[in-house]
Symmetry: C2
Subunit: 214 residues, 2 copies
């Protein structure tokens, strides 16, 4: 398996999404500068990224949209559907379950975990809910290596530790809490509180610039 | 208003969250290297960030936790509560409404918008839901400059345009779709699909490293 930088993976994921939109609109080929404009990057960057996955464009026609989607998918996706666990089935967890169900065919949430005994054994949006103590058995049995963490703040570190011990090697963390895990576990933080604070700060900057300019 | 880089704002937001946890645990002072460890950064970076908001530590005792929280809050927050709009009250929107309600006292969702006429006029988690056509009047009346966008893919660009025209200057975007807005609007993308793809890719890398090492 070839190793790409995190930033490259992010961009490839974004290119593919935009290429699918372009394909849906009937577009057959695309230039690096078109893709660059869509992702607010440079054409040179786009060409480097695509070269890394073995795709070269044609100076006349650019890149073939279908080929590019296939090449990115071959690079990013596993051959099979990747089974994913969701931990924490509160309001946010349920919303994420539905969101990911409809947005990604190759990543599938196959088990949900919650420490509420009332939820254990229930089927939520088509997914069986297990107690936290069942995690080692279920994660091993379903060969789960990826998890989405949507537990309340204060419960995330403990859940992450349990996931790591059960064999999970990548965690998408929605709890506003940094996780301490070993080097063999990748963590991506979806820090919604920080993001909203940042946007509010920048909105205030933009607003005072406008008012100052008047 | 002083202008800080986006990355600095992100780190200040994170420091404050960790300082509040430390304060809750009874900690009175903190060293730059403690904060650095918590955010996986360097002590020099922490000191630079805190210098930027006028805070200098003491080589013996480090920084006073209370002072630091106050200084960061003074820098990041508006004096008043910042009114926020939420656009799109599907499952994700509802979950976000609850999430932000409980996580941030200075940022308050005061109005929700949805294009479903059945939702118009209803009160959802204490928030009045308005139709999209009411946006200009409501946004101006409530002095809203920040919005959370949780509409389905395909509807985001249009909603962002309407928000911009109504006077919103910062958008936290949960739709997996890049937004085209003017330079006076800050956009922060919470790209959950991309984040999950990335984590899945890295988990696969970690897994094959472990298996290769065996």
């Amino acid at each position: 398996m070839k190793i790409a930088s995190e930033k490259t993976i992010e961009r490839l994921s974004l290119y593919r999404r935009l290429l699918r939109v372009a394909k849906g609109a009937g577009q057959m080929s695309v230039y690096s500068h078109d893709l660059a404009e869509m992702v607010r990057g440079t054409a040179a960057q786009v060409r480097r990224d695509l070269m890394e996955i073995g795709c070269a464009g044609n100076s006349k026609k650019g890149y073939d949209v279908d080929n590019l989607i296939d090449a990115i998918s071959e690079f990013l996706d596993s051959d099979d559907v990747t089974p994913v666990a969701l931990v924490g089935v509160g309001n946010l967890g349920r919303a994420l379950l539905q969101f990911f169900e409809s947005h990604h065919p190759k990543l599938k949430i196959v088990a949900v975990f919650d420490n509420d005994p009332e939820k254990s054994g229930r089927v939520i949006h088509g997914c069986r809910c297990y107690g936290m103590s069942e995690m080692p058995v279920v994660v091993a049995g379903k060969k789960i290596t990826v998890a989405v963490l949507a537990v309340p703040v204060g419960a995330a570190q403990n859940a992450a530790k349990q996931l790591e011990e059960a064999g999970v090697r990548g965690i998408l963390n929605f709890a506003p809490e940094p996780l301490r895990v070993g080097p063999s576990v990748a963590v991506e933080n979806m820090d919604m509180t920080m993001a909203l604070e940042k946007v509010a700060y920048m909105a205030r900057q933009n607003n005072s610039k406008e008012n100052g300019a008047k």
